[in-house]
């Protein structure tokens, strides 16, 4: 919304503040000045302030509304010009209101004998400040009234209409040619103004070409209407038409204020174009809007602001904003003006007081005095932070990627039993699906790095992955780790991942051939990762790529390991009083038999009290079998005792 400083000053005669100060005051009170320009108007130097208007303040999309704010801020009187009542006429207009649910109020009047001549220089100049081209005197006056009062008006060339004028829901017109000449397809659920044959306007949005005012126009119907804001918003958005009228009428605009706007419009038309009123004022207003009566606690502004705002200041501010105050039995009832449809609660009144009193009176340099409360941070957040620390220490860089993926990507990387989730209306239609794995994002990043010649590609991402099960939308935090290298091997990658798990506190880490292998994985090198016998993720080598790098990927469900971590009770500390005794044993397993399964069984039958560690010292392939050399290191035993236990455990007594 733009406003000339001279207009504000005319409505607030006592104003002494400079144009910039006025802009500053409006910014502070909720209307941020985002533009300031020196202009010339009516031959004098003036200033044009551009202001961002709050979404719930339709009343301030007007010069008068903003002047009211300035008057209240500076505690000055607002001087709204008085306008003579419209002269009486008994001839009724033939108007029908069929869209009764959607239409709150319609005022209409007929004026004959108008001369739609060129606008005077000051009016053309005024229109240019709002980026509007002069469209002849009648239309310019209509726009001028809209800027001053906030009420859009619509002028109909009466001689171009046939039959009664009707406000109805569209169920017959397929398109409208707007007064700008463009053709808009209609959806058949708009509120329109029509006559017997034609669509005259998209109500509250834009007029049609059929009845538009031109240089020959002699007889007009001027109408000002207020609608249910949601229908205007819906129509404006669905037809992609936004106008100065729709911007105002898609907000809560006080139907009562239409009277003043109509009086101003009629008086200006009569003054500048000649003509005379030839009908009575049509007034459709079935449900008059009445302001709420709000019980108000004078202490509330102080309580919410944290500073002392006196009752005197509170009452002064509310009165300055034209709020009616009734004090009875030490209780305060406040009635806002009907133009303030945004005010209905005690807290709304408190905001009015605090914002006009000035947020700049609230100290910013005092240490916030907040009470001590319980820490409710979930463990998965703490764990994610620890994961970041460990992985960066291991040389991995963190990346972030798009949670939406292209068609077909999830199919290549998914290993869960969840269905893919698709968005319905993403404007980025090449990326319609929510990711099911972190892998695609990391792989994209790897390809970018490879293209750009980045040598070290050890990357990770923590983010949500998604899926649908039984019509429930599921998501969980997931960690993806990717390493792309020429020289490293899967065991080296696995060691890094396992180091992470062990540093997080998990010792019982095992790998079993994956039961659900992503299509992009090498099926011979794809493992489900288990911690404490629960599947917490996957580790695999990707199928060869153009990069000719060895690409390894692991993914861990952070929520699963968070739950497991709660039950872990680690104590890696021992008192060592004797030397450690390492003893080897060779075991042979058939191809396909899991060493992890063997070790799992071994751990069940071995007495852990005397074990320092079990490691695989060597692996040797013998035809269809694999020979593993296990090195079991015993603690707190003599050589003899250790040997006895070793021989017994591995059944070596008979050898």
């Amino acid at each position: 919304m733009k406003v000339l400083y001279s207009e504000i000053k005319e409505l607030v005669p006592g104003l002494k503040a400079s144009p910039k100060e006025v802009g500053g005051a409006l910014t502070l009170t909720g209307f941020m000045m985002d533009g300031f320009a020196e202009v010339s108007h009516k031959g004098k130097k003036d200033y044009l302030l551009s202001l961002e208007i709050r979404q719930n303040r339709a009343d301030c999309l007007s010069v008068i509304g903003l002047a009211q704010e300035v008057a209240a801020y500076y505690n000055l009187k607002l001087n709204v010009p008085a306008i003579k009542p419209i002269s009486k006429n008994t001839k009724k207009l033939d108007i029908k209101i069929e869209a009764t649910e959607e239409t709150k109020r319609v005022l209409a009047i007929k004026i004959d004998g108008v001369k739609n001549i060129e606008s005077p220089k000051w009016l053309k100049e005024y229109m240019s400040f709002y980026g509007l081209n002069s469209a002849g005197l009648l239309v310019d006056l209509s726009n001028y009234v809209m800027m001053l009062t906030g009420y859009p008006s619509h002028l109909i060339d009466f001689d171009k209409t046939e039959g009664p004028i009707c406000w109805s829901m569209n169920n017959s017109f397929k398109e409208i040619t707007t007064l700008l000449g463009s053709v808009t397809k209609l959806n058949n659920n708009e509120i329109i103004i029509r006559d017997n044959n034609s669509i005259l306007a998209l109500a509250g949005i834009i007029g049609g070409k059929t009845d538009s005012i031109d240089i020959k126009t002699k007889s007009i119907i001027a109408e000002i209407a207020v609608y249910d804001r949601s229908i205007i918003r819906k129509n404006s958005r669905s037809l992609s038409i936004t106008t100065e009228a729709s911007r105002r009428l898609e907000k809560d605009l006080d139907p009562n204020g239409a009277d003043y706007a109509m009086k101003m419009l009629v008086s200006l038309i009569l003054k500048y174009t000649g003509g005379q009123v030839t009908s009575s004022l049509f007034n459709y207003y079935p449900k008059k809007y009445v302001s709420p009566k709000i019980q108000f606690d004078k202490e509330l502004p102080s309580k919410l602001s944290g500073i002392e705002i006196s009752s005197k200041d509170t009452l002064r501010i509310l009165k300055g904003l034209n709020f009616q105050i009734i004090s009875k039995n030490n209780k305060l009832t406040v009635i806002p003006p009907t133009s303030r449809m945004d005010v209905s609660l005690s807290e709304d009144l408190a905001e009015e007081v605090i914002r006009i009193y000035g947020y700049n009176h609230i100290s910013t340099n005092e240490t916030p005095c907040l009470e001590i409360v319980k820490n409710i941070t979930p463990k998965n957040i703490i764990l994610s932070e620890k994961i970041r620390d460990v992985l960066t220490a291991l040389g991995f860089d963190e990346t972030l990627s798009w949670p939406l993926t292209q068609e077909g990507i999830n199919d290549k990387f998914n290993y869960s039993n969840l269905k893919e989730i698709t968005t319905q209306n993403s404007v980025n239609d090449l990326f319609p699906n929510l990711r099911q794995s972190i892998a695609p994002g990391l792989l994209n990043q790897m390809n970018e790095y490879f293209k750009k010649g980045v040598e070290y590609i050890d990357i990770f991402e923590i983010g949500k992955v998604f899926g649908e099960k039984n019509k429930n939308y599921l998501e969980h935090d997931s960690l993806g780790i990717l390493s792309a290298t020429k020289n490293n091997t899967l065991p080296q990658f696995k060691d890094k991942g396992e180091s992470l798990l062990r540093l997080l506190g998990f010792e019982d880490v095992k790998y079993f051939e994956s039961k659900s292998k992503p299509k992009k994985s090498n099926p011979q090198s794809c493992w489900d990762v288990f911690v404490n016998n629960q599947n917490i993720g996957i580790l695999y080598k990707l199928t060869p790529s153009e990069t000719k790098l060895n690409i390894y990927f692991a993914e861990i469900d952070i929520e699963k390991i968070t739950k497991l971590l709660v039950s872990v009770n680690n104590n890696p500390v021992v008192e060592l009083t004797q030397k450690l005794i390492p003893l080897d044993v060779n075991i042979e397993l058939d191809e396909g038999k899991s060493i992890f399964e063997y070790l799992d069984n071994l751990e069940k039958k071995i007495n852990k009290k005397n074990i320092w560690s079990i490691n695989i010292a060597d692996i040797y392939q013998i035809k269809e079998k694999k020979r593993y050399t296990l090195r079991v290191t015993y603690k707190e035993l003599s050589d003899k005792e250790a040997k006895e236990i070793h021989l017994k455990t591995f059944g070596l007594n008979n050898i």
């Binding site: 502070l28 909720g30 941020m32 985002d34 533009g35 709050r54 979404q55 719930n56 918003r233 898609e250 309580k303 919410l304 944290g306 609660l345 408190a350 905001e351 605090i354 947020y359 700049n360 100290s363 910013t364 340099n365 240490t367 916030p368 005095c369 907040l370 009470e371 409360v373 319980k374 820490n375 409710i376 979930p378 932070e385 970041r388 992985l391 960066t392 220490a393 040389g395 991995f396 860089d397 972030l400 990627s401 949670p403 939406l404 698709t422 968005t423 319905q424 209306n425 993403s426 404007v427 929510l434 994002g441 990043q445 970018e448 790095y449 980045v454 050890d458 939308y473 998501e475 935090d477």
Partner: protein
């Protein structure tokens, strides 16, 4: 034993020491001359068998020769063992590798979140997260944004299943979740992703990051909110940061607050970065709207709260000199081998 014989033995020792070149050889010489059966040890032992008239003179000669032999031996031993030690040190020495090891990096968004989290946890805040697939109820209705509310224009929504399921448009939805699930008092911050239905270009993205804060106690107020903001701004932008707080409309708060920071580029004079106004909008805040509290079942006579939301991406872009928002989500974001700008 004649004096001559002693001299010969001493010369023999000198010759042997001359040719000894290792600690093994020197050990052999010790055995030859100074062990119990060694030549000099035997000489000493013979003193007691000497006739009384010779004892006085010969014993002195032998003792002097023995001492001289010991000194010669010790000197040679030190020389050989010392030489060998320095040889060992050299052969076992290792040089420092001049190549710096690769270190990992946190993403600038994570780094910024962590800095902010550290500040807020030091003030007793908890860190919370919530679902990214949200319901209309938690993303809008419980935040006082009914279906026909104009504020929905500010937030173009990506729907999973219209009208009920969507990708959260704001981290305020976490506020609604926490208000519904936890009993006050609490102080929380919630960093996270939000989604808006926007085309991706240099300045806009459909995914962006926000930082939400919520405090619900028996006496929270705007002074505490401003004080909290001020602590945050000083931490992130230094002690000299200039701020202002103005009234702003958000449906979920009443009164609403728009915190601004004086443009660091033009210091308030107006420049293209701040679109000529001299200030940069940092987010939104306010006292939690009574309707929001009531929808969470909270007694507004007892509990009062404030909430704030900040856009993280532009903070991060300014701090790390990133010019294209797309860089934050992969592709062009690279990490240098060295952390310090001045090295490479």
């Amino acid at each position: 034993m004649t004096e001559e014989q002693v001299k010969i033995l001493l010369e023999e020792l000198k010759a042997d020491l001359q040719s000894a070149d290792s600690s093994v050889a020197i050990t052999k010489l010790w055995h030859k001359y100074f062990s119990d059966t060694g030549s000099f040890k035997l000489l000493i032992k013979k003193i007691k068998d000497l006739p009384a008239e010779e004892k006085k003179t010969t014993a002195l000669i032998i003792q002097q020769a023995y001492k001289e032999a010991q000194d010669l031996f010790t000197e040679k031993e030190k020389s050989i063992k010392g030489g060998e030690m320095s040889g060992n040190i050299k052969s076992q020495s290792e040089d420092i590798n001049p190549i710096a090891p690769k270190i990992g990096h946190l993403h600038p968004i994570s780094k910024t979140i962590r800095e902010m989290n550290e500040l807020f946890t030091s003030m007793g805040f908890s860190i919370m997260d919530g679902p990214e697939i949200e319901t209309d109820e938690f993303c809008f209705q419980r935040l006082n944004v009914p279906s026909d509310h104009p504020a929905r224009d500010m937030q173009d929504t990506i729907y999973i299943k219209e009208p009920d399921y969507l990708l959260r448009t704001q981290t305020s939805s976490i506020e609604a979740q926490v208000l519904a699930k936890y009993k006050p008092p609490f102080k929380i911050v919630c960093p996270g992703k939000s989604y808006r239905n926007e085309s991706v270009n240099k300045s806009n993205h459909f995914v962006f990051h926000q930082y939400q804060g919520v405090v619900v106690t028996e006496r929270a107020n705007m002074k505490d909110l401003f004080g909290t903001f001020q602590v945050l701004f000083k931490k992130m932008y230094g002690e000299d940061v200039v701020t202002r707080y103005r009234n702003k409309y958000y449906p979920e708060v009443e009164p609403g607050v728009g915190p601004d920071m004086q443009c660091f580029n033009c210091h308030g004079k107006g420049c293209p970065l701040c679109k000529g106004v001299g200030w940069i909008e940092m987010g939104g805040a306010g006292i939690i709207h009574p309707n929001v509290m009531k929808m969470a079942g909270l007694d507004t006579k007892k509990w009062v709260g404030f909430a704030f939301g900040l856009g993280l991406d532009r903070w991060v872009m300014a701090k790390y000199k990133i010019t294209d928002i797309r860089t934050l989500l992969g592709g062009n974001l690279g990490y240098k081998y060295y952390e310090n700008e001045s090295i490479i």
